[in-house]
Subunit: 357 residues, 3 copies
């Protein structure tokens, strides 16, 4: 495949600096490219070192002022958002091959199931009763879709995913392999020493344009609903407990756990390995740093870190002191010694012992 810089500029709405007839044959990362590739540079680390890439063409931000001479061997394409433009090109150079629509004979489909137009149901897919699958859905091998589930249009379910009964999945959703949607929450009532299971009659509702990573576990509501808002993206091995609500466009990085009945706002970022306790609120636009333990509610637009969490700026000071605690302790003991010396004449005249510590 080949596209001239002129053709590419039309696709991504770019202005060209250099040879617009140059032909691009591939897309690649900045440091792993060859002459006929196009790559991109978004931040100063790359923009100030354009000569380091072997790519013949580089997508750069409109705002970047090019120091002309040093790059005359490369074609530059200026756009608003180089990363997004570049990945648009990636999808053109590497188009996704969609399988032919159809229902594999090895699949097992229940009664009263409605499957829309242009769907792909691969082998070993099991679909329960009263399920609605909308148009253009792709169910990959080994997925299980429980009774009374609804799957929105153009949603892609990867292999070996489990979607338990009554779950509602939106449009344009991607769910990666090994993930479970709608498992029972961890709800028990103590009855003397035994723990009696609380029946979970709620369900999981996932909005549109959501991507759920591999190996996630998202529990159904006990009575009510566990809600994943529109545009939410979760990384791998994320746990979301019963009755949690996650607001629109929130990002949840790998191995995060969110305990029951907590509400996460919109446009929140929860970095990897963090844990959020139950029954709290994390405000819109807040950021939870990596490996953070959130033990109480977080206000809007706050950045928090630490176990337990504190404002991120304070945490940075605190951890720098923590690592110097041996020196601080030493100083404290040295000060104590100096005080004893100072107290000596005082004590001698007063015959009074302050030396109990």
């Amino acid at each position: 495949m080949g596209l001239s810089v002129k053709e590419i500029a039309k696709i991504i709405n770019a202005s060209i600096i250099g040879n617009s007839d140059f032909v691009i044959r591939g897309v690649s990362s900045f440091h792993d490219s060859n002459l006929y590739d196009i790559t991109f540079a978004s931040d100063s680390k790359f923009l100030n070192n354009l000569a380091q890439t072997c790519a013949g063409a580089v997508i750069i931000p409109d705002s970047h002022i090019v120091d002309g001479d040093s790059f005359k061997d490369k074609v530059l394409l200026k756009v608003k958002n180089p990363k997004i433009s570049f990945f648009n090109l990636v999808s053109i150079f590497h188009p996704v091959k969609r399988k032919k629509p159809g229902i594999h004979p090895n699949s097992d489909i229940g009664i009263n199931v409605k499957i829309g137009k242009n769907c792909i149901v691969q082998s070993n897919v099991v679909i329960g009763d009263n399920v609605k699958i909308n148009d253009n859905v792709h169910l990959m091998p080994g997925t299980y879709i429980g009774d009374d589930v609804v799957i929105g249009a153009s949603t892609l379910i990867k292999p070996n995913v489990t979607i338990m009964e009554k779950s509602i999945i939106g449009d344009n959703v991607v769910i990666h392999s090994g993930t479970t949607i709608g498992s029972d929450g961890f709800g028990f009532a103590q009855n003397s020493e035994k723990h009696e299971k609380l029946i979970h009659t709620g369900y999981v509702k996932i909005g549109n344009d959501v991507e759920i990573g591999a190996g996630n576990t998202i529990d159904r509501g006990t009575l009510g609903t566990t809600v994943i808002g529109n545009g939410v993206k979760t990384d791998n091995l994320v746990h979301i407990a019963h009755n949690v609500k996650v607001g629109d466009n929130t990002l949840i990085v790998a191995q995060v756990g969110i305990a029951g009945s907590t509400t996460i706002g919109k446009n929140v970022i929860i970095a990897g390995k963090s844990a959020i306790t139950g029954h709290i609120k994390v405000g819109d636009g807040s950021i939870v740093g990596p490996f953070t333990g959130v033990y109480s509610s977080v206000p809007e637009n706050e950045i928090v870190s630490g176990i337990p969490h504190m404002p991120h700026k304070r945490w940075r000071k605190v951890v720098s002191i923590v690592s110097r605690l041996p020196e601080i302790r030493k100083k404290l003991f040295s000060i104590e010694k100096r005080i004893k010396t100072l107290e000596l004449p005082y004590k001698e005249s007063n015959n009074n012992n302050h030396d109990k510590e």
Copy 2:
């Protein structure tokens, strides 16, 4: 479905305050209910605000003294344990639909397999050789049951669960989706720079009335057995290594990891995200707080928190000081300055320098 308060009181053994002929049509949570629902209130947060629920009937504790006037529009039902009584009603209002017993033709069953009465084996279930499945077991689609496995009566295995060879699963067990029972433990012996695999010939033994969450990994013993006691409940994404023993009725919350050969006592609670090191004992009745790193044995009935763990009360003090370390450091430097001032006349007369820090 409708049940009068009188009928409900008989089922849950309650005494009634109010109109015993009132008809209940559903069960719901305290804050998400309507007039014809029944809900429950266990603690003072709800009991002191009974007017806040729209439910027509509320189950409350025997011991609660009702301030009569304010609730005359609601029927109250007094019982010993409102939560357990309420969830009994939930299971009556939302009876679980059990599929018809039978073995799906899409399943693959090995030789010398014994399947008890009234079992359900759904499509794409694979059962190895010499397996014993007791009465009333339900194996959901895509589960794999290895050779020589025993599954106790009335156990429910959710979709896409893997149970490796020789595992023994008790009665009335529930295992949620994506979980692996009986994977090889992480056991290698270093041979120069390479790590040689230690063959794992042990197995996993799970007791009765156990519930294992989604996405768990429970490794087989190296030579011996990994044991999960009766009544144990694990949340999602829990890791239990080879040769671990977990005592009866212990609760293990989401994303906990327990390293090899550790023994967890009875009635222990291990809160979410915590890690327990290998070859130690966690005593009966102890509680491990959330996000805790247990690096050595824990006595019975102790509560521990922190990384590394310490008694929970101490940890509460410690973390409150950690977050104030910038102020403490500042105070230390201020004190040092004041000492220098005090030392000044002393130094002047002695010509002796203490000022090395």
Copy 3:
């Protein structure tokens, strides 16, 4: 099965102390054995207490000097590495039963798939197009192998594993159940409030002699490759993000997470629950302690612990001080009080207030 001590000594190249005609009927752990078993003792804890095992024969290190009298009832076998020799015997006493080669009719195999000699493809295995499966591979039930995948010789894929398109798996690899290889990385570009998915065209390359635990998630490269070196072993529930490189013979313990584009050296050990941030290097031979948060690059052969990480020796000092912070704070306040006393005459004569803290 029975083998005389003489026969065993020949197999593991041991020298014998005691009755070489004694017949061994089983292998067992030190504390859970009977008279006709053989066990092993590697370290002083066991070597100094050989009388505690009931086993009739014990494999010990060449270097151990036996205190003759106390063990005359046991046969001792001296070898270079008792653990490795013992587990060689375990595999002789417990030979793995390999299923008969063949392709199960319930499997679903795409076009242009090459399957080598002596392979086992069990039921419900799904193989995409243009896949190459080398000799002696065993694919267990419910595994999914995507398009353009290569599986090396003698590799074993356990049940319900998902291997996405273009992944390359080496020879003699074991992948445990529930694991996903080649899921899309967590890569999005912000476009106003929405997060646009970055198409992932890279792949995962796994070397030879690798073992991947249960419930792992290993993401494909965004454009390039995620690389797992030869001889790497991962425990359960490990997350490895896009474009990570893991060097040869590195060990990654349970629930570790490694963020995108990070390079882990050779012969590294990353202990359980630790997190490694993105775009850094962890040097060859380094050790990351349990529950550690690595926030920046780690030099070769360094041992680090803590969140954030620091040299392990410093961390040991720091945590011992952290747990004593209440006492340290108390001492600080006591010192302040003593200073005030000392300042009193000074202040009285100067009328100058230092008492602001």
